[in-house]
Amino acid sequence: MDARAMKREGSEAPFASPESALLSLHGISKQYPGVVALSDVSLEFRQGEVHALIGENGAGKSTLIKTLSGAVDPTSGWIEMDGKKYHGLTPAQARELGIAVIYQEFTLIPELSAAENIFLGDFPLIGPILDRKSMWARAAELFARLGVQIDPKTPVQGLTTGYQQIVEIAKALSRDARVLVMDEPSAPLTTSEVEAMFDVVATLKEHGVTVIYISHRLEEIFRIADRVSVLRDGKYIRSLNVVDTNKSELIRLMVGRDLSETFPQRTTGPGEVTIQVRNLSGNGVRDISFEARRGEILGFAGLVGAGRTELMEMLFGVAPVASGEIHLHGRPLRPKDVVSAISSGLALVPEDRKRHGVILDLTVRDNISLPLLRRISTLGVVRRRRERAVADKYRDALRIKTPSLSQKLGNLSGGNQQKVVLAKWLAMDADTFIFDEPTRGIDVGAREEIYTIMNDLAAEGKTLIMISSDMEELLGMSDRMVVLCRGRLAGTLTKSEFSQERILTMASGAE
């Protein structure tokens, strides 16, 4: 916090006259028992602007969105739109005002057509009968307005994720949305889909729709946003014109301190082979061989669907092995046996943390001790003092930010949840770690901490395997890299052979 003696860069966005602000927040605060989610936030959104909202996880972005959508009642402050003041909106009021939110998870019904999804709850009727022709026509018109070609009759499940998102946007427009809040819209999309989404956002802007754009990816903000507002720890920090700022300034504002842009360096070299995989097939991958050594981070590159996660599922004993061998410390690993994989010292930090890594309803302590329970119990009775001591130790060692160990895990930020996943494996004294997208959904500050922990582990002589789709992370963290392509081994690269082009060509099967 005290490191805020930063030099001022860029210009403060000029305070707009009340006429130009379409929607404004005045001193909005939201308190939950024990937590202040938003504290005295004042912000304004102008008509027809793309306004990016950034901040680390836990900065208050989602609470702010929920305040706008009517899902959250602010503790104090008011919202102003069309010259009227609201001390908190109901969902119905938000809809009437034309505020719509596109969430990360879509709210479409897969079996219904694009047009039916758009007009669900508001079908055009002739008497009691659904007027399908006019529904299709109106849907086609909306898609044309957005500059996309989607057949209104296609069931939504037959559309790509990018098109599904556009159906969501069309749905909002059909209800005369004037303010469209997009929560991490690029997260589920492929690169070309993101481009198409940017075009749609530009079209919306032309039509005078205000887009509030939330994203972790700063480069996107420079592509499409007019202004950007930064939140940190529930407080409003600053609004800036995008043209007047740069990436490092935004990061500094978000984090409140300087971050080293580079990946932390390691000095130790790799040691003996710990895990050896020979001709492994099954679960969608074929004939994979590689080995990983103590003290190294072995990166796994590949496109989505290359079979990296599927390969790790076999290593960790989740998925059955069709043929081939896995040796850990020279001993064969029993296939399809998670319990024995764990007791041999293997640890998995899974990609989908909320589903596979942690139990949101249990406490921080319960999550950390779960794999360890059998070891810290006598005749099946858990030695609670031991358990508390272990949880305490790793909370401090990994600097997990939580009010107490009996806090429900779901109340922690993504970065801290990830640290809990690490804590449980460190408590188990695991020595071979599989990281699957270790920093996905984790904000910049916590990300660096995760990297430091990973480096410390490598320095201690642990073996790390890391799947990542973040090219900078792969290049920056890995000592060697295995590239997979369509379930097969495309090649293994040493650090001196690393280059983004090389990896991409191998991953796409061109080499």
């Binding site: 899902a71 969902p91 119905a92 939110v101 969430y103 589903r355 139990i359 779960l370 119990s377 099946g380």
Partner: protein
């Protein structure tokens, strides 16, 4: 401090409901708040309380066991048959009955764990099978004439404290111990909250599911033996309503049908509420048919409350956010 109290809000709420009911019945009927009636309630409630222990375990793992009622039927009929028709010593008969109960639970658990079919369907099928088997053994006739020592199990100890009450408290203490102090208790919560994360943390999912249904079977047969001693007659229809009562009691007590949530204390208060209601409504001369209607409404209300509150709180909020309420 405040936060801690808030965490127990649900428990405090149901205790208040219990207190209100006791006060209401005490005003409505003079026979309610007497030592003999309270002991009477304790006896009646003992079986329910004991079954609720295992049933709570099952609910916490996000399972359900609809066959507990007919497990009781089978247990009483078999226990009675052993003692009366086969002249087996009563202690041995009890032991065999408990083994049988555990075996039935084990069968439920094995099928559920290894096939992955919904517990609702498996235990519903089991319920029918057990019902049939108990009628095959009893041929539809009550079995009577148990040894005096056996019947004494439902009597009093010392100054008239009912034996079933003591057994229930012991079983309850065992339940609290298993759930809060053992590795398996922790695993039950983990399984019920997020089975995939539990599996990937090295929890042996199958083994713990089998264990939970086996424990439920064991506790259910203990309850059945006490019930048999109290009724002094073994009939195949004995347990028919029990599944309903035990489910109501657990859900009233805050044990979530969606798994992962609930305490032994809550379940115990739920059992007392069901027991007090049964007894109080009877004393207050409320028609049996009206009682049925009330019971149905109470279970529905309890499950609705459970669904609307915490467990799906996030989803409800989300639905609000997207304006799906109309």
């Amino acid at each position: 401090m405040n936060l801690k109290l808030w965490a127990y809000a649900k428990e405090i709420g149901i205790v208040l409901v219990l207190v209100l009911l006791v006060v209401a019945f005490s005003v409505l009927t003079p026979h309610f708040l007497t030592v003999s009636n309270l002991f009477n309630i304790a006896k009646q409630v003992a079986t329910l309380g004991i079954i609720a222990v295992g049933f709570t375990f099952v609910l916490i793992t996000a399972g359900i066991d609809l066959s507990v009622g007919y497990q009781v039927s089978l247990s009483v009929v078999v226990c009675g048959f052993l003692m009366v028709n086969l002249h087996v010593a009563w202690l041995l008969a009890i032991l065999l009955t408990l083994l049988l109960g555990t075996a039935v639970g084990l069968a439920n658990g094995l099928i559920i764990a290894h096939t992955g079919v919904a517990p609702l369907i498996i235990t519903l099928s089991m319920m029918m099978v057990l019902n049939g088997v108990s009628y095959l053994i009893s041929e539809g006739l009550p079995i009577i004439g148990f040894p005096k020592d056996f019947s004494a199990l439902s009597g009093g100890v010392g100054p008239g404290i009912p034996m079933p009450l003591i057994v229930m408290l012991v079983v309850w203490a065992v339940g609290v111990f298993i759930l809060n102090y053992t590795v398996h208790g922790r695993y039950f919560y983990a399984l019920g909250s997020n089975v995939e994360a539990a599996r990937l943390s090295g929890v042996n999912v199958k083994m713990n599911i089998i264990l939970v249904y086996a424990l439920c079977g064991l506790f259910t047969s203990i309850g059945a033996v006490l019930m048999l001693a109290r009724l002094n007659s073994a009939q195949s229809a004995t347990g028919a309503d029990l599944t309903f009562s035990v489910l109501t009691a657990c859900v009233l007590g805050g044990v979530s049908v969606m798994g992962g949530k609930g305490t032994m204390f809550g379940a115990f208060i739920g059992v007392l509420i069901v027991g007090v209601l049964d007894n109080g409504l009877l004393l207050a001369n409320v028609s049996a048919y009206i009682q049925l209607v009330m019971k149905g409404c109470i279970l529905a209300a309890a499950v609705i409350y459970d669904t609307m509150s915490k467990a799906s709180g996030d989803r409800v909020k989300r639905m609000k956010a997207i304006g799906a309420e109309n």
